[in-house]
């Protein structure tokens, strides 16, 4: 049975048709968190976030409080919010920016106050045209309301907030590529070290980059205290989280549930959540955390939805998106489509990724479409080994960023779990599912 008693921390307003308006936001406790934060010292606000043990909700799962505290020695110049959400089948930030833009804006102001930053940017995917309009509207209203601009709510704190549109590039979700795009350049990830924009970020200055969902949690954490947030979930996975469920389920959508207290099975089958597999078919495999994550077979459905719990089984909770593939799914086609995505989105800086992604895509295409050879299956793994040596999890890196080394996850998983399906394609001279 799914555990659904936890409070709705970031999705409570989405049941209202006008959830994105200032009037609805103010009626439902909006900007109270900011008012409270402004009565506290900035370091006290930061301490609450630290106490909440909030893991960043972008995908890497780095503790948000620690990301901030690494910077306390040097003043932070800029706060940048990463709303470039482009990991396939991830759609929870999209949900937040369209349905509760004020919550995001309030979260950004609170974080900026804690970090004592006077200039912040929200970088949103260009394809989110409605989201861009809703966030711009919310920013306009926040200025009008006195929550942004000069001397916020009569305090001594001032902040300017700009929403910045992307223009279609998955790689800009990588935080150093995002900063390049914000500087008006091609979205090329920067060479590491330095590993964190905290050291060298926007215009070479210390910058904090946080995800949309991470920011959206701030008002609640300040109002209720970090301890109340940390009391939810278990272990390192505190609080609730938005899970985006898609694929062959009856009721795909975004669900906010308590971390660790629920399993993949709960999320997929509970009538109030996923509602089960379409036509009650059997599950063939699931992708547990975005297409960069190794797949799980049906025997792992009882793994709890927690960061460490999923990592222990050799995958990751990543961006919180779960894709269900049922027994009718062709895993060769699914793998091919995922690799086609990476091939298209590779920025082209590093040879293993730029060349490797195209080779992998072409080999998978010919297996799916009748031109495959038996030895292609091991050739795929050999190529993957060149991109991420040893095919370990987490992957070894031969490239500037993790895009390239994310490709072997699905190929290695698909071949390990369904090698015979690949052979069947070769022997059948094409896809047996067609």
């Amino acid at each position: 049975m799914a555990s659904l008693d936890a409070p709705q921390i970031v999705s409570s307003r989405s049941k209202f048709a006008d959830s994105f308006t200032l009037s609805r936001y103010l009626e439902t406790g909006g900007y109270e968190g900011l008012r409270k934060a402004l009565t506290m010292f900035p370091e006290q606000v930061a301490a609450e976030v630290d106490a909440a043990s909030l893991l960043g909700r972008g995908g890497a799962g780095f503790p948000a409080g620690r990301k901030w505290s690494m910077l306390r020695k040097a003043p932070v110049s800029y706060l940048v919010v990463n709303g470039d959400e482009s990991e396939p089948a991830t759609f929870k930030d999209h949900y937040l920016v369209e349905r509760d833009p004020h919550q995001l804006v309030e979260g950004v102001i609170i974080a900026a106050y804690a970090l004592q930053v006077t200039q912040a940017f929200i970088y949103l995917r260009g394809e989110f045209a409605l989201g861009l309009e809703r966030v711009q509207q919310a920013i306009n209203e926040a200025y009008e309301h006195g929550a942004l601009g000069r001397k916020i709510f009569g305090s001594s704190f001032s902040l300017d907030l700009v929403v910045h549109p992307g223009a279609g590039a998955y790689i800009c979700g990588e935080e150093t590529a995002l900063i390049e795009a914000l500087e008006g350049k091609r979205g090329f990830p920067r060479i590491k070290p330095p590993f964190f924009p905290a050291v060298t970020g926007l215009y070479g200055e210390p910058t904090v980059v946080n995800n949309v969902e991470t920011m959206s949690n701030m008002p609640w954490i300040v109002l209720h205290g970090g301890a109340a947030f940390a009391a939810l979930g278990a272990g390192r996975s505190a609080g609730t989280r938005l899970f985006a469920l898609s694929g062959r389920v009856r009721n795909p959508g975004v669900f906010e549930i308590e971390m660790v207290k629920n399993t993949f099975r709960d999320l997929i089958y509970d009538p109030q959540l996923g509602g089960g597999v379409i036509d009650d078919r059997a599950i063939k495999a699931i992708i547990p955390g975005g297409v960069s994550a190794p797949w799980f077979g049906p025997e792992l459905l009882d793994v709890p939805l927690g960061q460490d719990e999923v990592a222990e089984k050799g995958s990751m909770l990543g961006s919180g998106s779960i894709v269900v593939m049922d027994e009718t799914t062709c895993v060769v086609r699914a793998t091919w489509r995922i690799i086609k995505f990476f091939s298209r989105e590779s920025c082209g800086q590093c040879t293993p990724c730029r060349e490797g992604s195209g080779w992998l895509e072409r080999i998978l295409y010919r297996i799916e479409n009748g031109g495959g050879r038996i030895e292609d299956v091991d050739l795929l793994l050999d190529l993957c080994d060149n991109i991420a040596p040893g095919l370990t999890w987490p992957p070894q890196q031969t490239t500037i960023c993790v895009l390239g080394p994310s490709m072997p996850s699905s190929i290695n998983a698909a071949i390990s779990m369904f090698r015979d399906d690949f052979y069947a394609h070769v022997q059948h001279g094409g896809c047996p599912h067609d």
């Binding site: 010292f41 900035p42 370091e43 003043p75 959400e85 482009s86 990991e87 396939p88 089948a89 759609f91 930030d93 006077t118 995917r125 260009g126 394809e127 045209a129 409605l130 861009l132 309009e133 711009q136 920013i139 306009n140 926040a142 200025y143 009008e144 942004l148 601009g149 000069r150 704190f157 902040l159 700009v162 910045h164 549109p165 992307g166 223009a167 279609g168 590039a169 914000l182 500087e183 008006g184 350049k185 091609r186 979205g187 985006a244 469920l245 898609s246 694929g247 795909p252 959508g253 297409v291 998106s321 894709v323 593939m325 086609r333 699914a334 489509r337 995922i338 995505f341 298209r344 989105e345």
Partner: protein, 206 residues
Amino acid sequence: MTHFRTDLRQRAEELVSLYPRARSAMLPLLHLAQEQDGYLSDEAMAEVAELTGTTPAEVRGTAAFYDMFHLEPVGKYVVGVCTNIACLLAGGEDLLAHASATLGCSVGGTSPDGLFTLEETECLADCNIAPVVQVNHRYVRTTTPETFDALVDDLRNGRLDHDVPPHGTLIRIRRSGGLRVERDELAAERAEARAAREARAAAEAK
């Protein structure tokens, strides 16, 4: 004489003023140029170069990196059909093939009447309504061949003009408000706040 219309030139200058460095306005300005012309013309890119303190080659080189920018003219409506993993599992490929037949153009091409350009997109982050279709970056609920044909009919006859602006229009809400303060004044305030915080930390350490 600028290539940008007078009102858009004014918006362009406002956009530049939002950022500590002019080049940061590159992507917003390219969206604005596309809003005026439907695609990025050489003249527009030259003006963006002037506004951002870069060269036309740098502007083109940047624009070419991003999928949403078109360096050649496109139809009034750019129709995107997603076939990435969640949409693949929901029949996205079949819908794309149907769209191609209905519009009379191949993927990447433009319909004979010049009204529609068809694109196969990567994940558009709306996977609960898969397969996902966008027209000029507005999500439309069309998941079957029949509803797709109805959509095309509505677009052709201008019934969706309110919901779907012409290609290139990214955002119809203009920024109002903003922080009009000298940066030095802000820096002095932050330095004061920082000194106060250090004093608190020192007092606590004692």
